[in-house]
Subunit: 326 residues, 2 copies
Amino acid sequence: MKATAIAPSNIAFIKYWGRKDEELRLPENGSIAMNLSNLQTITTVEFIPELKNDEMAIDGKKETGVGLKRVIRHLNRIRSLTKIKSMAKAVSENNFPRATGLSSSASGFAALTLAASKAAGLDLNEKELSILARQGSGSACRSIPSGFVEWLDGNTNSTSCAISIFPEDYWQILDVVVIVSYEKKEILTSEGQKLAKSSIFFPLRQRLIKNKIKECKRLIKNKDFRRFGELIEAEALELHAVMLTSEPSLIYWLPFTIKLINQVKSWRKEGIEVYFTLNTGQNLHLIVEEKDKDIIVKKLKKFKEIIKVIVNKPSIGARLTNKHLF
Amino acid sequence: MKATAIAPSNIAFIKYWGRKDEELRLPENGSIAMNLSNLQTITTVEFIPELKNDEMAIDGKKETGVGLKRVIRHLNRIRSLTKIKSMAKAVSENNFPRATGLSSSASGFAALTLAASKAAGLDLNEKELSILARQGSGSACRSIPSGFVEWLDGNTNSTSCAISIFPEDYWQILDVVVIVSYEKKEILTSEGQKLAKSSIFFPLRQRLIKNKIKECKRLIKNKDFRRFGELIEAEALELHAVMLTSEPSLIYWLPFTIKLINQVKSWRKEGIEVYFTLNTGQNLHLIVEEKDKDIIVKKLKKFKEIIKVIVNKPSIGARLTNKHLF
């Protein structure tokens, strides 16, 4: 009745923004992402008959309120697939800060899904796990399969899941995560998602995104780094253009975000092939090839505003481990 | 053969971005702006028979290259309306820095148009001056008439000009200009304009902008400050969303731009009615009512990043003066 899972966070190259079903977390569009080797959540779950209520601790702190309710709903989904009536104890640890745009809810709900389903005696396949994880946190479905993944834009609960499109060793590109703030976001991604449709630009984005996904997959397949970089950078800016034009406007950037974006552009003029992408957090993701990693990390170390730099390779997806947290 | 004119810069509430005719500087859409009492250019022009070439000095520095060519083309337009063959000497002074997003080309070409046409013996009416000024620099046509102005979206040279929609004393709102950098822009507005159509969002913006202009005029007429503020802020963000999604992407913001935008939002939460707008420069324009001016200026003074704050009332348009610069 106890199991532990490790799951990676992931960085989306083509973004998930807007839902066609809030309850099931069905996205308005498909997305493409890469799982990250050094942003991980490890979670142990045990169903304990004597327990009165579900309990969850994350990074040593007990979850309460809305956060706990979201976990309980997820455990209920898993219990409903079994005969288990027991409450669960869950303990989770991230090796990176939460709610700062590093997708801790992706790795968190992926790890919780795998650990809880295993602890409940289930032996779900990748698709089943991905579907379940999605209902906890949309982008968590992408943290189940390995390497480069596509979240298929399904119209039903049983068709909206992520699959691996290329394994983790297919292309050695790196995501250099630049942490500029540990401050929690004012508007959580989950709330921001609801505003997607309030942007006048959202419908047009939707109309063009299927082709963009196709193009992104083609560029990964061909390992065409320059055009891939240009595509994902334009995609990130398009996402933020949609956010800027939401009502109310969503501005997730920090002053340093602008500084670093401009810096990336000028590094490219110097001949270094580096591109950025960013989500609903202040932190940036710089995408580079292995050959340019050292020079970029060295350049980043000169900025006093940067708290931490985390270099990620493409990673395998969620997996079980024997190292329980309790 | 000598005349001197003063012209105000202006701040657009509904923006001019994209041209349907590069040569005539016919805009893709109409715009709404307010002339500014404390951002001014004064220009003296004299046609001098002995002069070999047109000469122009701005803020004590001789114009050369592309800048001078643009002035010569404008003087040629004026000469072509007369029998004058002489070259001109022009001297111009701004009371604010150029090419930092404060529309020095608007006040500059408005003052040049009035001074040069008068020096050439012409006695043009407001419409004729506005049409001429537009050909020098699009937004300069708005600096000719007084107060709150509309640049009419004409399809021909003779129909695209600005008119006053409300006089300068109609509504006492202020534009508090926050100067955060005297650095020249990397991409001049005039060049950026050419990229407008490369944004996938541009056509939709165009489709909706006529109604936005109508709504903006209605809100000024009704002096509905809150809704006016919300409208112009959303409009500025929409403009920047279009720029972000251009190819290549245009990012005119500085780190402090983001800081101040977020600050404005939080001042509103404190109950101060202040809204922002911004053009293709790093500097911000905060729009407030007279009653909130002092508190905003006081709050702004606490930021070490701010070089200067200039408070502007609605201003009269371009006018002649006897105080020649030479």
